[in-house]
């Protein structure tokens, strides 16, 4: 019996996608047209960084190599994110379909699902789906009878490291090394796994690819905004009545989302996980979209009675633990921000120290090697900015 962990939410578009329709449509298209179709759809990476998927595929397709890879990034470690768990549980076939379409588009013959260790319970389920697809001719030699298109998928396990969600750290981990991010360029699309051209896409991105190929780019673009096409899955947790996984078109306001999940009255919402920004109630009319608040979909609702500094402290403890330690700004900067928050909580943070730590946070944003250190100051800085009065009053002993 597979382990099922139920998660509530609203109706998901993925429920309505006809199985294998996307794969069949893709295989009936030339590789160049397929990449163009994904480019035209405006699909941007759903893991959080938002890089245009078609462009990524185009770069990889243009490389000449004997071996290329498609990696599905299922190292869902951003705090407050669990939509990939739901997709892998309920729509694993769509994800594998997306990987197969990607393999066809870029000319790869092997796909790898990099699954975080915390989701080990999902591994038998994924292997089972893969096995069934092989038996049905949807993976393996001459996929769907298309001569010369061989594509198979394996599952590889993570081992407990948030930073391995960063694509070059993920590749290092797959190669058997410490999950320390590489310098870029070269980007993985040029020199990735074992130095071969490699596409790394998020679970949701790949499922969306299958949906786009099944229903068309115009259909996909009918959701969302001009600059953020399509719909998005949001992982909603924290102080609300109905936490769960929700699908909304890009462009929904924070207030609208909170109404759907029973989170009205929140004092703030942390969007994008620990590496995201803390949005105070006065900004709840802002939109979730690449042009306003971009996000991988983590929405943590912070109720009126919470201490905002506890929130900052929790995130910074996380980053101190998860920094890989390779580059100096991240290794040393995170503990300094944590120290500042602890002092603020005690009402004992010297203004000069806080000023220096804020400057250091700015340095981290530009000088850290990977996204971890570049984004870990976001919550800290947005909390200082958004909740200056609350923090100041406390420092004054009010």
């Amino acid at each position: 019996m597979p382990v099922i962990i139920e998660t509530q939410g609203n109706a998901l578009t993925y429920e309505t996608i006809e199985p294998e329709a996307g794969l069949k449509a893709a295989l009936a298209t030339s590789r160049a047209d397929l990449v163009d179709t994904i480019r035209d759809s405006g699909l941007m990476g759903r893991g959080g960084a938002g890089f245009p998927t078609g462009m990524k595929w185009g770069f990889c397709a243009a490389e000449k190599a004997d071996q290329k890879y498609v990696i599905c990034n299922a190292d869902e470690g951003e705090p407050g994110t669990f939509k990939d768990r739901v997709i892998l549980t309920r729509f694993a076939d769509l994800v594998l379909e997306g990987m197969t379409i990607g393999g066809y588009a870029v000319g790869a013959s092997l796909g790898i699902i990099y699954l975080r260790a915390e989701y080990t319970y999902l591994r038998p389920h994924l292997n089972d789906v893969i096995q069934k697809r092989r038996a049905a001719g949807l993976l393996g030699h001459d996929v769907c009878g298309v001569e010369g298109f061989d594509f198979d998928v394996i599952v590889a396990m993570g081992a407990g490291a948030y930073v391995c969600g960063e694509e070059t750290a993920l590749i290092e981990s797959l190669e058997g090394f410490r999950g320390e991010p590489r310098n870029r360029p070269p980007f993985p699309v040029v020199a990735g796994l074992l130095n071969n051209p490699t596409v790394v896409n998020n679970v949701e991105t790949l499922a969306s690819v299958a949906a786009i190929m099944a229903k068309g780019t115009e259909w996909f673009k009918s959701f969302g905004t001009d600059k953020s096409s399509g719909y998005k899955l949001f992982s909603v947790s924290g102080d609300c009545d109905k936490p769960g996984v929700y699908e909304f078109p890009w462009g929904i306001t924070v207030a609208e989302l909170l109404k759907e999940v029973g989170g009205e009255g929140a004092k703030a919402v942390q969007i994008g996980g620990a590496s995201g920004v803390c949005v105070p109630a006065r900004d709840f009319e802002r939109r979730l979209a690449f042009e306003d608040i971009p996000t991988g979909g983590s929405v943590m609702v912070i109720g009126p009675d919470r201490d905002i500094l506890d929130v900052a402290e929790n995130f910074l403890e996380f980053f101190v633990e998860e920094s890989c330690g390779q580059c100096t700004p991240c290794r040393l900067g995170n503990p300094q921000m944590l120290e500042a928050v602890k002092l603020l909580k005690a009402g004992a943070c010297p203004p000069e120290f806080l000023k220096n730590v804020k400057e250091l946070a700015g340095t981290m944003q530009v000088a850290s090697k990977c996204g971890l250190g570049q984004t870990s100051p976001s919550a800290f800085l947005s909390i200082l900015e958004g909740f200056g009065d609350e923090i100041h009053n406390r420092a004054a002993g009010a």
Binding site: Q8, G77, T81, G160, Y162, R178, N314
Partner: protein
């Protein structure tokens, strides 16, 4: 425990793993995960043997094992209980669960019980944020954990250990 095996047995065991997983460096993490799951520690002799079989320096093996939270080499209990420490689980009441686990097991976090059954650790976000507090017992996920439920989970592990001995 790996240490109860002879050198030859250990080597044969690692060679069998490499046979199954492949001879390349990419097998290192799956090998370490397998050793950890079966022996609950990765001792220096095992690291040396893995290094020999993969033809890499033992320091490389140690460097990888020490990087990943789920692979670190120190001896752990048969049951590693990891409680999620991240914000949504914090909001949902992780502290009461932490207190219950400490009391029930008689150890603090990052400690192992004297009988070698349990290790208690904090872990980063496990992706169960809609149904916290969440904990992992080895690979098994438990959600909406209350102090009472935590005690029941520990009791079930103890019963499973007794059944295994019998």
């Amino acid at each position: 425990m790996a240490t109860t095996m002879t050198n030859d047995e250990l080597r044969a065991d690692i060679e069998a793993l490499v046979e199954r997983l492949g001879p390349g460096r990419a097998s290192l993490i799956p090998i370490l995960a397998d050793v950890k799951r079966r022996f609950h520690e990765i001792d220096s002799e095992t690291m040396q043997t893995i290094a020999d079989v993969l033809d890499i320096h033992p320091v490389e093996v140690h460097s990888v094992a020490s990087f990943y939270a789920f692979l670190h080499s120190a001896p752990e209990g048969q049951f590693v209980i990891r409680l999620c420490g991240t914000l949504p689980c914090d909001f949902a009441g992780k502290q009461a669960v932490a207190d219950a686990l400490r009391t029930e097991l008689g150890i603090g976090f990052d400690e192992t019980t004297e009988d070698g059954l349990f290790t208690l650790e904090w872990t980063s976000c496990m992706g169960m944020c809609d149904q916290g507090p969440a904990l992992l017992v080895n690979d098994e996920v438990h959600t909406r954990v209350t102090p009472e439920k935590a005690k029941a989970v520990v009791a079930a592990c103890r019963a499973a250990a007794v059944a295994k001995e019998a």
